[in-house]
Amino acid sequence: MQKQGPIITVMLTSIITVLLFFLPQAEVIQTYLLMMAIVISGFAMLIGMDSLILFHARRVQRGEKVLYSATLLVAFFLTVAWGILDWIRIGSPFSPKASFLWLFRNVYLPLDATMFSILAFYIASAAYRAFRARNLNSFLLLIFATVVMIGRVLYAHIIFPIALSVFLILAAVWLWRGSRRLYGGEKAMRLTLAGISLVGAVVVFYPQIFKAVGGSIYGLTDWILNVPQNAAKRGMFLGLTFGGVAFSLRIMFGIERSWTR
């Protein structure tokens, strides 16, 4: 029964929840079930606290990474004590008058914001690794990502033609020096293609062309985001939905039991 109990509970509650979706008058039962889930998760917090405190208390006892664990324990009990004190004093630790909020605003929020801001550096380092044109796929990713990034910044209509010109100059250098494998190293061909690319780089600066190219960036960015990107994303959503339903059925009918004993 220890094994079957949770599986039967899951099966019954999930079938009831699915049925409730189709029965408009049973909204009350649905709300009641949701409330039960909230109450259970509230009690589950005790399991978390128990795990956290015991884990670090044992480490302090063993003399293993004492500084980290002791800091956590002191911070934990200090926060709880401060909250209780404000609760007794004012009635709520989250009241605007509560000094507990000082702790939240001046310790927790800056720490959280610091971690979030570190993300900018990680994005730069991940982008450096991802945006290397190692093959055709990563080259396309580089090109499309660059266009979208330019299209989302201020003065994109000025930056885009300049970036396009720089790209054409780099392409000309590559066509002249690095693309021998592409067309057998024939000098006339290399010269022609590199020349076309260079002319393109210069022509971009002709005022009317500059304006037209610059103006096209917004439409191009929207198109990339709304058509190819959205198509792939919707395909993934479709797969996710059906994969999710199949996974739910596996759990509902006890085929998938990894989550329980």
């Binding site: 408009p24 795990s51 971690m115 985001l225 994303k233 993934m236 959503f237």
Partner: protein, 390 residues
């Protein structure tokens, strides 16, 4: 600009932005509990409009990604009372006068409650959700059919998933290096399917870890997930005949704070230098922080999430990435249990079926554009699949 007889809302405007229709509104002095936004177009007439969403009193905008030519109606709820605005087309801005509720416009759409009051079958069952019920029943039939087939013939084919083939290599590498494995299901509660899928993968990884005698460290963000993770790891060790290797403290609670969790886990990765790190579950902005720290710590990193917005970060920073719904198939793929694999296949079958439905829709939509005589056919077809009962 014109006036509407209504209470609760002061101004509504509908604009187009990047192919989407954006509905923006502001409130009058009357305090509103919630707002429902309805859409009406060629597929959804005003008598049975599509409910776009139920929003809280603080919300003042909604983006309709369906876009196109449509009209919108806002219904506000104040206590037990509700009232509607007029239908507002795209590109219109409407100011609302604070008139009494009795003067509400007649163009009120049918609601769940309105239908319920009619009695009979409608009162018991929301008929607008019939198409969803049929789809679920069809899915369940396919699911049980494939299950039965797998019972008779356990050789069920599933295509190769590179990210899951490396699980053995990653565990083996950790064993050779004498380093532990780290596994996280990310941020979220136990009701998140991705986290449940992550726990099923955790069990398979823990089984292999028990075989190679490699410790598995599992920091958790939610206490209920912690309890389920502990059960999964413990059961894996028992199944492999090594309950002596299981240490309860290896599966532990870290914090419910998103960046606190990222900070704690990153610190651990840098101090412990694990042989392999698995990110299988649901992740938000902390995904890249975790993945980059796994890279810096020199571990093999394998990630899998259904959070599509976080997938590019994992692809960029991790060694192997399991894409979207592959995560739901992961446990079945690793365990090779025929019944579980059959369950995965039911999703694939339904996917193929829906592709056929979409293909027919594309053909009918194209035909209706070329020749308007086919429009009724397209309208009838799309109305079958319209989600009117959300």
């Amino acid at each position: 600009m014109f006036l509407l007889a209504y209470i609760g809302i002061a101004k509504v405007s509908v604009d187009t932005l990047g192919g989407n229709n954006v509905i923006v509104w502001s409130y009058s002095e009357v305090k509103v509990d919630s707002v429902k936004v309805f859409r009406s177009d060629s597929v959804h007439p005003k008598e049975s409009p599509m409910l776009l969403g139920v929003l809280g009193a603080g919300d003042t905008a909604l983006v309709d990604t369906l876009g196109g030519k449509a009209e919108y109606l806002l219904r506000t709820f104040v206590g037990a009372d509700s009232s509607d605005t007029d239908w507002i087309g795209v590109g219109r801005t409407v100011e609302v006068s604070p008139k009494p509720k009795e003067e509400s416009p007649p163009s009120r759409p049918k609601t769940e409650k309105a239908e319920v009051r009619k009695g009979g079958v409608i009162a018991f069952f929301d008929t607008r959700k019939t198409n969803i019920l049929v789809a679920i029943l069809l899915f369940t039939v396919i699911f049980f059919y494939l299950l039965e087939r797998a019972r008779r013939d356990p050789n069920v084919f599933i295509r190769r998933i590179a990210g899951l083939d490396v699980v053995d290599d990653a565990v083996g590498r950790s064993a050779e290096m004498g380093k532990p494995i780290m596994f996280t299901t990310g941020i979220g509660t136990i009701d998140n399917l991705a986290i449940l899928a992550g726990i099923t993968v955790l069990k398979q990884v823990a089984k292999r870890a028990a075989l190679y005698e490699v410790p598995v460290l599992v920091p958790n963000n939610d206490p209920l997930v912690l309890a389920a993770s502990r059960e999964a790891v413990k059961e894996a060790y028992v199944e492999m005949g090594r309950p002596d290797l299981y240490k309860e403290n290896d599966v532990f609670f870290l914090t419910t704070s998103q960046f606190g969790f990222a900070s704690g886990m990153s610190g651990m990765m840098n101090r412990i230098k694990p042989g392999a790190v698995f990110f299988m579950g649901y992740f938000y902005a902390e995904s890249l922080i975790l993945a980059e720290n796994a890279y810096v710590s020199g571990a093999i990193s394998v990630a899998g999430t259904v959070a599509i917005d976080q997938l590019p970060f994992f692809i960029a920073a991790c060694d192997y990435t399991i894409l979207a719904d592959e995560l739901y198939a992961a446990s079945a793929y690793i365990s090779r249990n025929p019944l579980e694999v059959a369950g995965v296949k039911s999703g694939d079958w339904f996917k193929a079926l829906s592709l056929a439905v979409i293909l027919v829709g594309i053909i009918l939509a194209t035909l209706s554009q070329i020749n308007p005589d086919f429009k009724w056919m397209y309208d009838a077809y799309s109305s079958i699949f319209a989600a009117t009962g959300r």
